[in-house]
């Protein structure tokens, strides 16, 4: 099971994503934005960061990178794709997921361990969770406010395209507390919080049992590995 992680100029969490894939039992493959080659991977992660310095709009220039034509093509053919934070913004800018992401309503960058509810387990990336499971993973963004027009929001809710919702507090003004989305097939998932930062005890969020012990993000990577192996 080979999972590609694309590095764009300004990506920050590509190494962490590769490490998460390795810890979940997969083989991470480093991919470069400037190539037209997915190196035969089975799934893709678009990592967090600040591609192109967030110039123009977050994710907008990366969405027009050379490799994105292959990514969009593969996504349409059913390859599992996960976009984390800036990766989510790239998926939205590419039109692979609906809506848009704008500056946090309070205007500040926010970094916190965020409680989420898993709203859909019918995806390549969330099948290992239980429906409605509550998880805690880090969130760190300045432009994570999810918006969409009323018609799009109705479609998102009507077709159960919400993958994750913020719990306890809404950290950025996202409409309907939306933290992450899936597409109609469940192969494409994007979210603002960072599952790759909660995959190894000692380096994750605090839990009631021990400090930094939270590994709620690991299931996301294990899910895709299980789904591709069983496919």
């Amino acid at each position: 099971m080979r999972v590609g992680v694309i590095t764009f100029p300004g990506s920050l969490d590509d190494r962490d994503a590769m490490r998460a894939i390795r810890l979940a039992g997969g083989e991470p493959v480093a991919l470069w934005h400037g190539e037209h080659d997915l190196h035969g991977v089975d799934a893709l992660v678009l990592p967090g960061g600040f591609s192109y310095g967030d110039y123009l709009r977050c994710g907008a220039i990366a969405a027009h990178s050379p490799i994105m034509s292959e990514v969009i093509d593969a996504a349409h053919k059913g390859m599992p794709v996960l976009g984390i934070c800036n990766g989510f913004q790239i998926l939205v800018e590419s039109g692979l997921l609906p809506g848009g992401l704008i500056r946090n309503d309070h205007g500040d960058f926010v970094c916190r361990d965020q409680r989420l509810r898993v709203e859909s387990t019918q995806t390549s990336w969330t099948s290992g969770y239980t429906q409605g499971q509550e998880i805690t993973i880090p969130l760190k963004n300045g432009e994570g406010g999810f918006i969409a027009d009323d018609e799009t929001l109705r479609r998102i809710e009507g077709e159960d395209l919400v993958a994750f919702r913020y719990l306890e507090l809404n950290p950025n003004g996202s409409l309907h507390d939306i933290a992450g989305l899936r597409n109609e097939t469940g192969r494409i998932v994007g979210l603002m919080p960072h599952p790759e930062h909660a995959v190894e005890a000692g380096f994750g969020p605090d839990t009631s049992l021990a400090m930094k012990a939270g590994i709620d993000g690991l299931t996301m990577f294990e899910s895709v590995i299980a789904s591709v192996v069983s496919a």
Partner: protein, 85 residues
């Protein structure tokens, strides 16, 4: 030399946190005469020589495809200006 100016603004019905922050700063500077600030972008596409219809056509296409995101923004103006240089 000519420039094609493309102006992009956040959609009117959406929250504009950047504009709100600027309004807050105006208020803190003691200026209370403005009720609202919206913050957008101005692009200048430089053309060697005269701006032709095909330049404008390309500018219109790219204004929608790259320079703006129709989900969150509107292209409010595309026009030709003489370059000051």
């Amino acid at each position: 030399m000519a420039i094609i100016v493309v102006e992009v603004m956040p959609k009117r019905e959406l929250l504009d946190p950047a504009g709100k922050a600027v309004l807050g700063s105006l208020h803190r500077s003691g200026v209370d005469s403005f009720s609202h600030v919206r913050l957008g972008k101005r692009f200048e596409l430089h053309v060697e020589g005269e701006a032709t219809d095909s330049h404008l056509e390309q500018a219109r296409t790219m204004a929608d495809d790259l320079l703006s995101n129709g989900v969150i923004e509107d292209v409010v103006a595309i026009r030709v200006e003489d370059s000051p240089a």
